[in-house]
Symmetry: C2
Subunit: 337 residues, 2 copies
Amino acid sequence: MRIILDGMGGDNAPDSIVRGAIAAAKEIEDDIVVVGKEDLIADSLKANGYKGDQITVVNADEVITNEEAPVKAVRRKKDSSVVKGIAMVRDGQGDVFISAGSTGAMLAGGLFILGRIEGIDRPTLATVYPVISHEPSILTDTGANAECKAKNLLEFATMGSLYMEKVLGRENPTVGLVNNGTEEGKGTALTKEAYELLSASDLNFIGNIETRELQDAVCDVIVTDGFTGNAIVKLTEGMGLMVLRELKRRFLTNAKSKLGAVLLKDQLRDLKKEFNYAEYGGAPILGVKGALLKMHGSSDELAVKQTILKSIPYVKEDVVGKIEEAISRNEDKDSSE
Amino acid sequence: MRIILDGMGGDNAPDSIVRGAIAAAKEIEDDIVVVGKEDLIADSLKANGYKGDQITVVNADEVITNEEAPVKAVRRKKDSSVVKGIAMVRDGQGDVFISAGSTGAMLAGGLFILGRIEGIDRPTLATVYPVISHEPSILTDTGANAECKAKNLLEFATMGSLYMEKVLGRENPTVGLVNNGTEEGKGTALTKEAYELLSASDLNFIGNIETRELQDAVCDVIVTDGFTGNAIVKLTEGMGLMVLRELKRRFLTNAKSKLGAVLLKDQLRDLKKEFNYAEYGGAPILGVKGALLKMHGSSDELAVKQTILKSIPYVKEDVVGKIEEAISRNEDKDSSE
């Protein structure tokens, strides 16, 4: 297969992208294409000592930044790395497109260039959500759709379950609905209706969950609207950063505490590693006719490498095709009722 | 003043309530009345060696549990500790009512027994939100109103600012609106409209905030709808519990790490203390014609004591009266525009 990387997206582009590609290339057989300003990327490949032919470069003169209105940018900047990269997936020149750039541009590109899967109302950004000392969950939606209908939440759950099963390898994944209480009948008009739809579906729905339980590995697929999902992911990240910062600061108080910290070095390093989103690979944009992975803007070499590795089952297990099948099954069921 | 305590609410009632009352009584001059099953409370007072007359008991034979539908329970159980306690505030027999019981019953009791402040559409549950290594913020709403209008968010901000200033003593408190991005124009129809209203108000509005920043002490008053606020408070609590659990587990790995943990004992204890909601006192229900404080269901002696202490400026600074004034000023402003 052929993996297309956005060479220009993210805070550390193109260097961390190129280094991640080189690290991944050592572990896989697949071709990697980096799209972006050819001279910059070639320089970075050279500076990082790459001499192989597994990684190639496709030139794109324009860059879409986080500050631009995504829809307009995708429509105008035909020669941007994002537009070119996604078009390569559409045209069969690549199997998956990966970017650490603008989430909005990835979503708009997915919609306009690849198009929605038939029967999907709203594609979703599904984040791999770290659960400390456990395998991660999938959280969907995390910001693609701030305002949702209940039908959208059912779609997110269906797509998230497929990704969890096929890419992260968990069979018959459990699905929980984020709510303000665990009892049936709790919540807003949206969550009440979504509860009904999820209960009636073939998914492994376990009912309402509260955010208090997320770090208890309460379910595999966490379903919520994009506004709440965005708040959850960012708060988790902020709390993780705060904890590491506070431990460091407090453990440097005096000679005694510094010695304690030295003795606990391994444990602190492990904890830090678990708080690191980079370990888990990027966030898939599900519901469009092609495989797209969004990485965190601050992705480093490790994050890029991990995302490239996770993109392989995403493509090989044909998650996009399986979503198409699942959605058409749901629709058949609806129309036969 | 006279502080009315629900002797029957919470996981550890009446014992932790009684012990908290005894601890508070040592530090204040005010009368404390415990409402609930007289024999149980008298037994607990006796068992805890209390012999004074600063704490008295008012009998209430019924108890409203968390499992009951709050509105129905408040209407039917006239002899419950919650209904009797709130009625005492209405009738001038008490200045504030404090409970660790059902939040729904407190809200329903506030609405039906005390009534809304004129001009307030929706009373709010405003939680004191812990920010590690900083003074706490106020988060409003935290679950009283899962579905909100923009006007409600402005009311929450107005009431939360007053509570922050008068009770927690922070002058001209900053107000931030939880959103899925910091730029103006971000968010849902609700947050966009709330942004406009907050910008046009006299509040010290700093704009949109992301949940990633909450532990950076980004603002004094965090404004959001009750669904999102509930998710934030519960996730913060869940993350805090997870961190303490993980540190403990990891630090007990082997003899070396155990020694490290011993050397870091003071620092770990301090961090644990900061994660403890109990330090900050209860959550006020703002917007009703009387002072109500809701404590966490698992409140221990310390939490009860702290909430009693915080109830004093809540009453003495006449936060309820100041909310009435502020809301009528807002209304005058509206009608003169």
